[in-house]
C-alpha cells in the first residue's frame, strides 16, 4: 500500500482550524441572511464551533473541564433556543413577517 501524503492521525491544529472555519461561516450567515430563523441557526453554528475548540483543548490538556464547559454551552443553547423561538413567534404574530430588515422599530 503506498504511503499517503497525509499524516496518520490529524494534528490538533486541524481541529482548531475546522472550528475557525465553522465560526466564520456562522458569522457570515449571521450578517448576510435576512430570515430571522436562519440568523438564529447561524448563532447555533457559532456555538457549535466554540464547543469543538473546547473539546479539542480538553484533549490537549488531558483534562475533562472542557467537556463540562461544552456541556454548559449546550444547556444554555437549549434555553436560548426555547426563548428565542418564542420571541420569533411573537414577532411573527404581531408583524406577519420574518425579515429582519422590516423589524426595525428601535432604529433611530
Amino acid at each position: 500500500m503506498p504511503q499517503l501524503p497525509i499524516p496518520a492521525s490529524p494534528p490538533i491544529a486541524w481541529y482548531l482550524i475546522l472550528s475557525v472555519i465553522l465560526f466564520a461561516l456562522g458569522v457570515a450567515g449571521f450578517l448576510f441572511r435576512r430570515n430571522i430563523i436562519t440568523v438564529f441557526m447561524s448563532i447555533e453554528l457559532m456555538l457549535n464551533a466554540v464547543n469543538l475548540s473546547f473539546v479539542t483543548f480538553s484533549y490537549k490538556l488531558r483534562q475533562v473541564d472542557g467537556h463540562i464547559f461544552s456541556f454548559f454551552v449546550m444547556v444554555v443553547a437549549a434555553a436560548e433556543a426555547a426563548v428565542g423561538l418564542a420571541i420569533i413567534l411573537t414577532v411573527f404574530k404581531n408583524r406577519q413577517t420574518l425579515e429582519i430588515d422590516e423589524v426595525s422599530s428601535l432604529k433611530n
Binding site: L45, V75, A77, A78, A81, L98
Partner: protein
Amino acid sequence: MDSILFIVFAGIAVLCGLNLVLQKHPISSALSLVGVMGSLAVLYLLLGGEFIAMAQLIVYAGAIMVLFVFVIMLLNAGTEPVSKRRLWVTYGGVPLMAAGIGIGAYVLQRSFPSTESVKLGAFQGGGAYEIGKKLFETYVLPFEITSVLILVAIIGAIVLASKEVN
C-alpha cells in the same frame, strides 16, 4: 485511519455549513445544520468525548433542531428574497472572510506543533463517569444555577408564546 475519518467528517461539516449559509429556504438550512451537528459528534468521539458526542446528538441534533423545524413549519417560512446590499459587501465579504480564516489557520498552525496529533483512545477521561464526578464535585454550583436558568427559560417561553396580540 484517524486522518481519513477526520477529513471525511470535517469535509461534511464544512460543506453543510456552507450550505446553511447559501441556501435560500430555512428548512434546507435547518437540515444542513443537522448535518454539521452529526459530523461534529463523530469528531467528538475521535477526541475521546463519548458523553459530549451523545449529548450533542440528543440535545442539539435531536431536541433543538426539532424545535427549529417545528417553528419553521408553524410559521410556514418561505424562501427569502434576494436582498440589496452595498457594493463593497457583495464583492468584499467573501475575500475578507477567506482572509480571516487564512490568518487564523496560519496562527494556529504556527502555535500548535504538528508533532502533537489526535489519536483515537489516547484520552480516556470523557466518559459519563468522569464527567459526572467533575460535574457534581467541582462544578456543582454552576450546575445547580443552570436548573434555575432553564426554569426561567421555560416560564419566559410560555409567557412570550401565549401573549395575546392586541
